[in-house]
Symmetry: C2
Subunit: 139 residues, 2 copies
């Protein structure tokens, strides 16, 4: 199976598959003409990667997951721990974004949004809470 078919079968773009080979996630064999030759296991692995990436796992996490997947002696404990870590990061990220969302929604609500220049949004961005007045001559 050439890369085009492997791409179609796995759902990953050919470019991405080449990239995954480059960083050592997969190691397809080569035909005499230099073309990559993907077997069923390769395609399966690519689909595994596609799914893991879609769930937000990083490339390095994917590498670890594939390692665990291929290790018959793995402990599900390890997979769970990795996934829990990832979940925690997502929760953190969601909380951050919800904080931003809150603030932005308030600003949008406060802004008249008309032809006049007065704008609570800009006022908020320009508030100098962060600026320590050093008493310096500004020039």
């Amino acid at each position: 199976m050439n890369i085009g078919n492997a791409a179609e079968a796995s759902g990953l773009p050919a470019k991405t598959i080449r990239y995954y080979e480059e960083i050592g996630l997969i190691r397809p064999r080569r035909d005499a003409n230099g073309y990559r030759a993907f077997g069923r296991r390769d395609v399966h692995k690519l689909a595994f990667l596609a799914r893991a990436r879609a769930l937000g796992f990083s490339i390095e996490e994917c590498r670890a997951l594939i390692g665990l997947y291929e290790d018959e002696k793995r402990a599900s404990e390890d997979v769970k721990a990795l996934t829990r870590e990832h979940l925690k990061r997502i929760d953190t990220r969601i909380a951050e974004l919800q904080g931003l969302r809150e603030t932005l929604a308030q600003l949008v609500a406060a802004c008249a949004g008309d032809h006049r220049p007065d704008c609570p949004i800009l006022a908020d961005l320009a508030r100098d809470s962060a600026i320590t007045d050093m008493g310096e001559v500004s020039r």
Copy 2:
């Protein structure tokens, strides 16, 4: 004010400030020795950028926001529209992450997390829904 003080006053790392100059967000003057010289307005602008970035606006959005901020004839409408767009993107992102979160939480819950190799998480990643069996000989 040198870059170190400007960094402290604005809350941005010196490296970031240099980068912002490189991409044309700020244009501090230079002293005779080549050192950047930041005035009050520069520092204010940096703090504005820091706040806008912290709210998740992209660099290009920040550029637009600064443009609006410095335009006395701006319409608050434009600021509001920009912010609303940003808010929409954040909502989309939150929704995506919540989808992932849901799936991951289910997987974590389903996994025993013990010394045994059986793992619903790996099973999920390896499900071949995405793989079309092309009926091909795999090599």
